[in-house]
Structures are given as structure tokens and as C-alpha cells.
Amino acid sequence: MFLTLREALPIALPVMIGYFTVGATFGLTAAEAGFGWFWPVVISLIQFAGAAQFLIVAMVSEGAGFIDTAAVVFLLNLRHVFYGLPFLAHRPENPLARLLMIFWLSDETYSLLTSRKPADPSRVQVAVAGLNYVSWAAGTLVGSTVGQLLPLSVDSFSFALWALFAILLTEQLRANRSFVPVIAGFVGVAVLVPLKVDFGLGMFISGLAATATILGWHWLLTARQRGMGG
């Protein structure tokens, strides 16, 4: 096991550093939002879902109900459906290792492991994913503890969450080079105009409307391509 970890450490290190930093940012913002030092660590250990964790903190802070929060988190993580595919050929034989690999498979671990040619043995892949998980949780612990100790303005510090969402949105638009998410977002919020709903239910309803917009756009594009082809 020690040899496997020694083999995995240099592979995992770049993601571990990033995870520690972002995990610390999560801990800091959650602690400053009123979650204390303990709950951010619990969220990181149980959930381990990056942006979704920030969304949970933000939605609970806005007074959203738990069912609405769970539904929005489910929609946000839809992309994970594809992550297991490249690992079908290398999935660990050991059932526990297989379960851990699924639990620890994040965006960055997926990007890191799928970029390795030839692919690492499954025991090393599991160790890389585990090291990333530990660094995320450790970063959260450090961030939430520091967040409890720093005498900073809560308002300004909780603004970090909004800044992070601005960064994530910028990255999404930059990576996809498409304005469809922006259109879908505005359609989603337009659906709420005649309704008087709270934040959580509003997110759920407008999330469904945004999903329908993206699907509609996809079908429109497919139909047009078929029309041009034949």
C-alpha cells in the first residue's frame, strides 16, 4: 500500500495542491457564512462535489429547503454520468476499491487520469483519487478553522462565494464558447416572472426550464442538420 501511495503521489500532486487551496476557500467561505468549522468538513467528507458544495452552502444560506437543494445539486452534477466510461476497461476488481473509485471520481481526477497514456494500473488510479479526496478535506478543515479565527467582515467574506460563482461561470462560458447557457439562464428566470416562489423552489423550476431550453436547442439543431443532409 505504501509503495502504491508513493507511486501515486507525484501523479496526484498538482491536483492535490489545487484541491487544498479550493478546499480551504470552501472551508473559509462556509465558516464565514455561519456554518462553523465542523460542518464544512462534514460536507466535504460526505459530499465531495466541488461546485455543488458551494451551491449547498449558498442555498442553505438563502433559506432554501433541503429537497429543492438536493434537486438542484442533482442537476448540477449531471455531467458526472459520463465520467465512469473511460474507466470501464480499468475498473478495480476489488468491489470496495471500485466503490471508492466511483465516490472519489471528481472533474480534476477524471481529467488527470484520462490524460495518462498508457493508463495507470487501477490500484494507482484509486490511490490518486484518494489522495485528492484527502487534500480537499484537509484544505476544508484548514480553511474553516482559519475562517473561525479571522476577524474579518462576514459580509465581505461571504462575497467570496459570489466571486467564486463568477469565476465558475466565466470558465464555463470560456470552455464551451457558447451563449446557450446564458439564453437558458434567462429563459429559466423568465419562467418565474408570473410566479411568487422562494429561492429554492425558484432554482428548481428555472433549472427545469433551462434544461428544457438546452434540449430544445439540441433538437432544433439536430433537425436542421438532418434537413440540410437530406
Partner: protein, 119 residues
């Protein structure tokens, strides 16, 4: 929401939310082990995978502002200042691509603006 109200929300039901959420993520991450290949090969899934996260993040801003406006909690001057700081943060991120640097600058700017300009 006040910090005390958040602490009231944290308890066994919150742990249950986390476990349900984690199970959802687990099912999604392990979908290739559980779902038929045909469902994963559905072309629209690719589009949703690519475009939905951005739309949901944008919705977080829009729905939060809209809800605050309806409830009469949205004050225009602070809102405009925060929007401008967010746009500056996005521009800063596009230039330097350093998440922590952008967040620290945004928080510092927010503290300065709200303490000395709007305070």
C-alpha cells in the same frame, strides 16, 4: 439568512440531505456501471453535460436577485456595486487565471467599497 438561523438548519436533517446528495452524485459517477450504454450514448446528454452547469450557475445569480427584488430586500446601490465587483473579478480571472487571487481581490475590493464608499 442570519448565522443563527443557519445553525438551526444544521442537524440530522442536514446530514440526511448530504447523504441523499452524495448518493445522487454516486449514482451519477457510477452511471456507466449501472445504466444501459444506450442511455449514455443519447446525444442530448452530451449537450446537457456541457451546457447545463453554466446555465445553473447563472441561474443562481438571477434567481437570487429576482427573489430578493420580489421580497423587497434588493437595494439598488449595493447591488450595482456588487455586480460591478463581480464583473471586475471575472475580468481579473480571465487575465491571471488564479482562482484564489481573484477571490482575495474581490473580497478586499468589496470590503473597501462597502466600508469607505457606501459605508
Amino acid at each position: 439568512m442570519e448565522a443563527s438561523v443557519i445553525s438551526d438548519a444544521l442537524g440530522p436533517s442536514f446530514v440526511l440531505l448530504l447523504i441523499v446528495g452524495a448518493l445522487g452524485v454516486f449514482m451519477q459517477r457510477g452511471a456507466s456501471f449501472f445504466l444501459p450504454r444506450k442511455a449514455l450514448d443519447w446525444p442530448a446528454m452530451g449537450k446537457l453535460n456541457r451546457l447545463l452547469p453554466g446555465a445553473l450557475i447563472l441561474l443562481f445569480f438571477l434567481v437570487s436577485w429576482r427573489t430578493s427584488a420580489v421580497e423587497g430586500r434588493l437595494e439598488w446601490q449595493p447591488w450595482t456595486a456588487e455586480l460591478l465587483i463581480l464583473l471586475a473579478a471575472a475580468a481579473l480571472h480571465l487575465v491571471f487565471r488564479r482562482v484564489l487571487l481573484t477571490i482575495v481581490c474581490a473580497v478586499a475590493l468589496h470590503a473597501l467599497v462597502f466600508a469607505y464608499v457606501l459605508g
